[in-house]
Symmetry: C2
Subunit: 309 residues, 2 copies
């Protein structure tokens, strides 16, 4: 079983409008709702690939209830979310029909009490006993100590479970000190962590801060990976037109899937890159196009990078 | 008891953001939720004035459940909403902290089945037996015939209950044919109904189409009323700075309150104008400031209008 942790789950709502204009009134033509938060998205992709996956983190209130009802319907996915007294946040993505652009409105998450955080840590430790890998994903809701991820990574290590970290800001800076097996920053997170906008230099720097391997997602340019076994660049076959929402989460799912399948690094990167590209191409944000994934898997280029002098 | 009908109830959500920018991501700093739809807003103001009020219309799904739980907490208000299989819509008002401007996103309402519409009509007829006045407010959800309000007005007349209509578009055009006792359009609705942008002429025209009395709400310029007893202009003491959301609903509440209290027309208009002004001045959208209402009640000017030649 692969475990994904989403401390700040969300009910992701998408609205379609002809064109969003500030201070105007809009009739929403289409409403879609789905369980969200990065770890939940990663779990859904893993489940679609046929992996047994368990989702933990927090859920509460009516939005938490809707989220759990939806998760129950996903094959291969087990809900181990910890109930909280607060209400799970909503995120609203307003998609312009005309421009295709997306305006994002994110509610703050519920405040987690110390008792709820303790309850989660017990559940997490129990779940690790049956896990082959764990992904720690997304932001921390109010009430969770900023060093939370470092502690969760140490608990995973003690249980012999490899941990992947995908977060941002202070949670990333403090989390990397816990020495995750894999760190998956995007370009902005990498720059924020290291102060460098040069991907190779920044990736090296991030690895020096404690990560076993760093896989940087560089948007349309694919992935850059630095690991004890080598360094690689993985690129999709061509520039892709579509919605990049969730592409990073699909890349995380690909890396974990390849890890638990014991694939060599270049094959893990191929899987991650093809999944991310197939997510950009899918009509619904955050879903991946299975046919495109299978077709793209044969067309990703992975090249070994020569270490810098 | 005063009855208010809201066929397209809503859960009104307000988000505060520093400044809404299309295609950007926003952290929402404050989330508030309250039961909405014009008739629900009217009922809340009537209840705050001490009237016994009953709310009917439709509610369904988790949003409908939240709406009903909130209504249960309002003193003097009775929930007689008819359950439906669809989900009550949400509306989202995104308020810019910087500019104070509001961007509105309105979900479509649930589709009402013929059986649900029949069930409503039975409930409505039963409720009229105990009602001293009825307000028919807001848009029609999908599935409701466009002439619905005309039929509901005729049922009210048969029961001897005076009916006020406050809607827009085709529902207004067709509803006025039912001969409501009072029609309460705003400037745009009046122009849409009559084709005239000249308030007095348009109000006369609207009355000729079948309304017993027409009270046009002209924003900061107050109310213009044409009734069998005369014609008046009611104006607030000064230009008011604030949020006009819900001011029209408060005016409707004032008109109904004055009607059931058997006030002469000028006093009804004073009450309606002072309530609308006190709603503009209130910090929360759609609430009214009770102290401002009492103070403004003494400062509204009502002047009789000489009939046009």
């Amino acid at each position: 079983m692969i475990l994904t942790v989403t401390l700040n789950t969300a009910l992701d709502i998408t609205y379609r409008v002809p064109s969003l204009r500030p201070h105007a009134s809009h009739r929403v033509s289409e409403v879609t709702e789905r369980p969200g938060g990065k770890g939940v998205n990663v779990a859904r992709v893993l489940a679609a690939l046929g992996h047994q996956v368990t989702v933990t983190g927090f859920a509460g209130g009516t939005t938490g209830q809707i989220l759990r009802e939806r998760l129950m319907q996903v094959p291969h996915l087990t809900d181990a979310l910890v109930p909280v007294s607060g209400t799970t946040r909503r995120t609203i993505a307003v998609v312009d029909d005309l421009s295709g652009g997306t305006t994002q409105l994110n509610e703050p998450g519920p405040t987690i009490t110390p008792a709820e955080w303790s309850a989660f840590q017990e559940v997490y430790e129990d779940l690790l006993a049956g896990a082959s890998a764990v992904a720690l994903c997304g932001s921390l809701p109010p009430g969770i100590p900023v060093g939370a991820y470092a502690g969760l990574i140490r608990t995973a290590r003690a249980a012999g479970v490899p941990a992947l970290l995908d977060t941002s800001g202070a949670a990333l800076r403090r989390g990397v000190a816990g020495r995750p097996d894999i760190l998956k920053p995007n370009t902005e997170e990498l720059a924020e962590l290291t102060g460098s906008h040069e991907p190779l230099r920044a990736t090296q720097d991030a690895r020096r801060r404690g990560a076993g391997a760093v896989v940087a997602s560089l948007g349309a340019e694919g992935l850059l990976a630095l690991s004890p076994e080598g360094r690689w660049r993985a690129t999709p076959p061509a520039a892709l037109r579509g919605n990049p929402t969730g592409a990073g989460d699909s890349a995380v799912a690909g890396l974990l899937s390849g890890l638990v399948d014991n694939l060599p690094w270049p094959d893990r990167l191929t899987r991650a890159t093809a999944l991310a590209a197939a997510t950009v191409l899918a009509p619904a944000a955050g879903e991946f196009d299975r046919q495109a994934y299978e077709e793209l898997s044969g067309r990703v280029t992975v090249s070994a990078q020569v270490p810098a002098a």
